[in-house]
């Protein structure tokens, strides 16, 4: 089965001379939940933006063997339009008629548990709820590939764990392929089928850790020896990646 996306020797140097990333090779299969883990400023976000096509690589290529999939993007900040209610924020702009876009947005908001808040403005929503709107917006696009850039980093631990579980449910239901950037060892241990360790600038792959967590899983998984082992592996790999950089 061909990969959903393949990064070949991809690198990015910004105009100011900063070498942010690469070269990096990475292939992601359909249905995977891949976490890019590394310290802040290691080019993880740059990799995500390259995959989304928001920026162009300096070297190497981003390929989609099965064609560019419908892609959803979730930023660390909820990035909502303050003048629009939740429904309008989650609506798609293109490809569908307005009424259909509204139905889809409403359905997506329902899936993230916000059916009672369709007409709430962002300022009336909590941080977690805003992030849910942001995720609903990505879902409303009907994505095959979901790119998430430290989406839960600014949330409190309770909200974060709830959203982790919701995200896993959505991933399983929609058979999504998720590429998830985080600097949290535990989050990546809980969520991923594969963890890709990225070194500090320039971002290179230091280690790849395959995981086979049970599906579905819930918070009790965090108490298992299996989870501890995953977290231990990731933690060690992170330490080595950091030391290798110095």
């Amino acid at each position: 089965m061909p990969a959903l996306l393949t990064l070949s020797a991809i690198s990015k140097t910004f105009a100011n001379g900063t070498v942010a990333l690469g070269p990096m090779d990475l292939s992601i299969q359909e249905g995977e939940f891949v976490s890019l883990v590394g310290p802040s400023g290691c080019g993880k976000s740059t990799a995500l933006r390259l995959i989304a096509g928001l920026i162009a690589p300096t070297g190497g290529t981003v390929q989609f063997p099965q064609g560019r999939p419908e892609t959803g993007f979730v930023f660390q900040e909820p990035t909502l339009m303050p003048w629009a209610d939740a429904l309008a924020n989650a609506m798609r702009l293109k490809g569908v008629a307005a009424s259909e876009a509204e139905d889809r947005a409403a359905a997506a908001l329902k899936r993230v548990g916000l059916s009672d808040f369709l007409h709430a403005y962002p300022r009336a929503l909590s941080g977690g709820m805003k992030m849910r709107v942001s995720i609903a917006r990505a879902l409303a696009a009907g994505p095959k590939l979901l790119l998430m850039d430290e989406p839960f980093a600014a949330l409190d631990e309770f909200t974060r764990q709830a959203l982790n579980d919701d995200l896993l449910a959505l991933w399983a239901e929609d058979k999504l392929t998720v590429t998830f950037v985080t600097h949290s060892v535990f989050e990546s241990a809980y969520l991923s089928t594969r963890v890709v360790m990225v070194t500090p600038r320039p971002g290179r792959i230091a280690a790849v850790i395959d995981q086979h967590p049970p599906v579905p899983r819930d918070a009790s998984f965090r108490l298992t020896p299996e989870f501890s082992a995953y977290a231990g592996h990731i933690s060690n790999a992170l330490k080595q990646a950091m030391e290798g950089a110095h």
């Binding site: 096509g53 993007f73 339009m81 629009a84 798609r92 702009l93 293109k94």
Partner: protein, 261 residues
């Protein structure tokens, strides 16, 4: 402070000042040529009602037209700037030059060009020059202040340039535009008045000319009445634009949100 006090205190002060003024004019027997009392000004409103209302209408009309054209021109140019850095680089310095050159200095030249027989057009042009720059500068800034991540998202989800402008950049710029409109509304009025003084001719028939005429003839009460009308006009413009701002922003913008303390 509760709402009643917020209104009662300044109104009370106003009444006290007017009463003191009236008392001073009477008690010290101040000549009405130097300072007319409030009663004389009130009488001037009645006796000169026809002249005052005609002049008010002239000033109001030109102010509104100049203001509307300033908003239309300023926003249109700002949109152009937001779409093309080259156009902005080429034109912005000239917009600044137009802004920093005192309108009083331009007035005689514009008057000669456009002609004394088209004095209302002269006033319109001068008021427009004064009023349009805040709209241009603020709207340009607002259009550029749209969240870059949102712009990326719009692009990712296939939005056209037009959709990004209309659905993202324009709402982002709206608070900036409305704020600039409050400044420009007042400036348009000032522009008309200054231009009328600067043009200095009897073919202009607004409140400023009425003041010129009244002071020349030592009809100070009429001059004060015209001045009061100008102040009221400025206040009304400010409140109308503030109400517009509130109507458009109160549902979402931080500036319009009341907080419990």
């Amino acid at each position: 402070m509760n709402t009643v006090l917020k209104i009662a205190i300044p109104v009370g002060l106003g009444i006290a000042v007017i009463a003191a003024w009236q008392w001073a004019v009477t008690a010290l027997a101040i000549s009405p040529i130097v300072l007319p009392g409030p009663d004389a000004i009130a009488r001037a409103f009645v006796s000169d009602f026809a002249n005052l209302s005609a002049a008010l209408w002239t000033t109001l009309r030109i102010t509104i037209v100049a203001f509307v054209l300033a908003v239309v021109g300023g926003v249109a140019l700002a949109v152009l700037f937001s779409q093309s850095r080259i156009i902005e680089t080429a034109l912005f310095p000239y917009a600044v030059i137009l802004q920093v050159t005192p309108v009083v200095a331009i007035a005689p030249i514009v008057t000669i060009w456009v002609g004394y027989d088209n004095i209302n057009a002269v006033l319109l042009i001068l008021a427009w020059i004064v009023a349009f720059f805040p709209i241009l500068a603020n709207t340009t800034l607002g259009l550029r202040s749209a969240d870059h991540n949102l712009i990326d998202l719009f692009r990712l989800y296939g939005a056209s340039r037009w959709q990004i402008l209309w659905k993202l950049r324009f709402p982002s710029a709206l608070p900036y535009l409305l704020s600039a409109m409050k400044v420009s509304g007042g400036l348009a009025l000032i522009g008309v008045v200054v231009a009328e003084f600067a043009a200095g001719t009897g073919t202009a028939t607004g409140l400023a000319w009425l003041i010129t005429l009244a002071t020349r003839n030592l009809h100070m009460a009429t001059a004060f009445a015209a001045l009061v009308l100008l102040s009221i006009l400025g206040i009304v413009i400010f409140f109308v634009l503030s109400a517009l701002e509130w109507a458009l922003l109160h549902r979402w913008h931080e500036s319009a949100i009341a907080r419990e303390r």
